[in-house]
């Protein structure tokens, strides 16, 4: 499904220096239903996920999705995300100008889903993350864990083939983490593929494989 070949990525720092993140990195995801990406803070997990999600096109190397070489074009990448990828960002990135329902619905607005279906799908997504009663609350009325769950609902509401999650349980207590774990397991079982960047052992343990980013490269650890 996903194949990254010879990825080189660097950031130009404000002082003009270069910070190298990846050097000739290769990455494959074929049959696996789920992968965990581990690595120290600052090692480049978010950067890698952004490349996979097509949010970052400023890198060298080749990216194949379903055996198709993807052009480094903003709109091509957007349509990839629109159809196939759901993203849970590291920060919740909720919009404070609208309630939870509309925060989740934004995904479907991009897809042009009709109003009736939006209602149904959002309701379903909120059920999965256990936020049915908070539909009309605003983000500033939620706890950190609840906010994280809204972010998850927003990513899964369109039932994407591939779900990319960046630290999805970073702010949750153990009980809640278990709930989310169930959600991810469930998503795996109904055919979604998962790529999760995480520090959590229990999250990593549900994944079929574990990778580690170290020394600007990616290595399989399990």
């Amino acid at each position: 499904m996903i194949q990254l070949n010879g990825i080189n990525k660097k950031y130009i720092l404000p002082n003009g220096k270069e910070q190298i993140i990846f050097k000739d990195l290769n990455f494959y995801m074929q049959e696996e239903r789920s992968l965990a990406i581990l690595g120290r803070s600052g090692s480049g997990k978010t950067t890698l996920l952004n490349i996979i999600a097509g949010l970052d096109i400023k890198y060298k190397g080749k990216y194949y999705f379903d055996n198709r070489l993807l052009p480094k074009n903003i709109d091509e990448m957007s349509s990839l995300r629109l159809e196939d990828i759901g993203i849970i960002t590291q920060n919740y990135n909720l919009l404070y100008d609208r309630n939870i329902f509309n925060n989740v619905a934004i995904t479907l607005h991009c897809l042009g889903t009709n109003k009736k279906d939006i209602g149904k799908k959002v309701k379903h997504a909120l059920e999965i993350v256990g936020l049915t009663d908070h539909k009309y609350k605003y983000p500033n009325e939620l706890s950190g864990g609840e906010s994280q769950r809204v972010a998850i609902a927003r990513a899964i509401v369109k039932q994407p083939r591939l779900l990319i999650a960046d630290e999805p349980t970073g702010a949750l207590d153990e009980e809640t983490e278990k709930d989310i774990l169930k959600v991810f397991k469930n998503l795996q079982e109904i055919g979604h593929k998962l790529i999760i960047a995480t520090h959590s052992r229990s999250i990593a343990s549900i994944c079929e494989k574990e990778y580690l980013i170290k020394n600007n490269d990616l290595t399989l650890v399990r």
Binding site: I74, L82, T89, L95, R98, C110, K158
Partner: protein, 431 residues
Amino acid sequence: MNIFREIRFYFKKNSLLFFLELIILTLFLTLVYVFALFTIGINEKTDKIENIYNGKEIYRLIDKLEDPEEFSDFLNSKSSVSVLSNFYNELDTDKNFQFLSVFDQFIPIENFKGDNTFDYAYGEDMEVKGKYKDEISKKIYQNAKSMQMNKNSFKFYDIELARGKEIDWEKVDYSTGRIPILLGNDYSGIYDVGDVLIGDYYGKDFKFEVVGFIKRNTYIFYNGSSEKYLDNYIVVPYPLRLSKIDNEMGDMESEFYGILYSAMINGDIAIEKSGNSLQTLLKNLDRISQKTSFDKYTIIGVRNFVVQYNNMIAAINNNKKIILFLLILNLIIMFIILKGISHFIYSKRKKVYYLYFLNGCNKGEIYKIFSIDLILPYILAFILNIIITWKYKFFDEMILIILAIIIFLVFSVIYRIFIKKLHKDLENGFR
């Protein structure tokens, strides 16, 4: 994607900034509007001045009846007054020059309906008297500003009406006790066409019938000096021809005509400019004087008018420069403030653009949301400006087009700055 839904959310969180932006833009547009009106006004004014005075020379004819005793003797003699009438008729009909007879004798009006802005003393170096009771007649009067003019002056200063009908000069006949008058535009809503004002004109009661209203901002050059706006004036036509005084006429009546005629022979004379125009004028006046046996007049040049006129144009142009400078300064300050506000709004809205981007909206759709976020205050300010100018009756299509261009330019510059920013953010995945 539903753009209107996004606009709603936009307003919810950014209404304060939005209205700030709207107010700044509207104020600026109104300022530009007023400036444009002012410039057009000045151009019209200089055009009018040039039309009137270009290639012409102005002299003033004044009587030499300055000794009060001599003057009163003169008034008491019916034949002398008749001489004046002949003299005036000759001046007024002479083909070699234009005789412009204008005088600003105020007229006490009975039960006057206007306020003190119409008072003779208003705007002058005098104390406004307002309404007062005449001790003899026991009636309430107010001294209203009035300008008496002959037909030549009407044409010379190109006086146009806003409504009503023109003076029928052939029918101006003071002996009927009824005089048709025109009112300045400030009288709109106070008196109407057809109304009759009763007033005292050189000590004699007259009925003044309103036949029309003069266009707003009409002015004449009275006394060869600065312009006099007729907006708060009652304009009284002089008779076209003056008749002789017959011996049957009562003394009071003949005194009235004596005063009237002696006022009327004082006036400006406009002649075509040429090398020996003054000599020609003097010769012509001499001829008239001999024909009518009136020689108690003198001619003075009012060349200083030309100097004044030039000074005025210079002052106007100077003001124009200052205002233009202020306007540009204003534009720069406004631009900086607008950029600041747009920056603030952009940083607040960035997350929205990011989330649409994250969920797969294409560039075009995100640009669309962004553009509407940005353009709304500009469009609303423009509409507001149309409403304001319409409401306050200084609507002008030409200026509006200029305004549309200016606002479009300002918007374009701001838009370019922020679309670049957005593009960069999209390329970097908003990191």
